[in-house]
Amino acid sequence: MGCGPLLVARWTVADQVLPRYRTPPPLYRLARALRRISVLVLVIILVVMATEVYSAYSTAKSAPTGSNFTTAFAANDTLQVSGQFTFTDGGLYPVSGFTLHVVVRNGSGVLIGTSTAGPVTFQPTVTQVFPIDFYLPIHSAGPATSLLTEDQTLGVGIWANATFGYLFPLSVALNDTRQWGAPFAEFSVGVGAPTTTGGVVDVPVTVQFQNHASFADDGTLDFAVVSSGGATCATGSFVLNVAPGQPYSQTDSVPLASGCSPAGGTVTSTYVTSDGIPISLPSESIP
């Protein structure tokens, strides 16, 4: 085929009387139809895109409002971090499959907890509350137990995924640090020398700590003086009502079981919240 204009065609004299093409030929109609469909599809996509852009702008304007996060002890030796945010999707399309993943590492970079919330779909123009509950296991065997007694800088990784307007999967990743104030910072339990008064042998037990947490230590602190052989020599309890930022120091003398020597043993402590939730605190060795 040449590249010059197709000005020459084979037409007969009859064609001049009765034009050959009253209607376009099939191939021409097919090509024309395809081109029109192509333009139509493009226009539809552009219109949808325009509404998506408008919707994204409207949604971005209606930023979520979050409540203050609260921290409290929860069952099964866990710290519960709770909060919520309220979001109104101001756009035309839903924000679907919203999922939030949180990873927390301690000051040494050791993973101490993960959490996932969602998926949730935010419908357009509807105000929805998205609750977030995050549990950090603080049992004595886990790395998060240091949260009880050590202030530290926590590494917090947050990943949020959602699909906007059916077409656009979005993800936000945020790595941040948070200062953690321990509820039993600098916790120590000291066992003094036994004293005998009226035939009864008592042992003084001193508990000291500072509440650097954002919540009060409210409840009781139960302790047990255990001999090196594992026998319980003495037990006692302190009533706690330590406001955030306050220090605590208390000594109590408890009767020592006869024949039981605390030397070389340990002191085990359990904090029982006012809700009755027991939290094991690190045990201390007795010189």
């Binding site: 197709l6 000005l7 020459v8 656009f168």
Partner: protein, 161 residues
């Protein structure tokens, strides 16, 4: 057998080559603005604010300019048998461009001034957009076949008097 006659006798008129070149050049201006100027401007704006780009400005400029030029060329060669092949070429370039964008998804970039990273996936949009040049390519193929089988058949309808 009758002698070939000029197509102009059958009620259509093909614009002169000069006129078509002028028309193609005029079409080139908005096409370059839409396909090169605006996308490259947006990318340059993002780049100036420290946002990494999913595709380079050079890539966008080359593909955009190629599409604009092929669009103008289609207009110029429309009365010729090159119309179909140029249409196929234009659609092929558009498909290649979109495939390139497809593999640039998801696009992740750090939000300036924050420690946050935002990721946006646009594969669904690209797949939808791919429908357009795919149909255009089919149309170009049909036109090529038509020009090959029946030269000049479409001219009375493309250029009615």
């Amino acid at each position: 057998m009758s002698a070939p006659v000029t197509a102009a006798r059958y009620g259509y008129r093909i614009p002169s080559l000069g006129y078509r070149i002028l028309g193609g050049a005029l079409r080139l201006v908005p096409a370059v603005i839409l396909l090169v100027g605006i996308p490259a401007g947006i990318l340059a704006f993002a780049s100036s604010r420290g946002i990494s780009l999913p595709v380079s400005i050079a890539t966008v400029s080359v593909f955009g300019f190629l599409l604009a030029v092929l669009g103008a060329a289609r207009y110029i060669v429309k009365p010729t048998s090159l119309y179909g092949p140029i249409s196929i070429a234009a659609s092929s370039v558009a498909i290649a461009y979109l495939v390139l964008l497809y593999f640039a998804s998801p696009y992740r970039f750090a939000i300036p001034g924050t420690q946050a990273t935002l990721g946006i996936g646009f594969t669904s949009l690209v797949l939808l957009l791919l429908v357009v040049p795919a149909i255009g390519l089919s149309a170009g193929l049909v036109t090529t076949i038509e020009d090959w089988k029946h030269p000049g058949e479409r001219l009375p309808f493309d250029y009615p008097a």
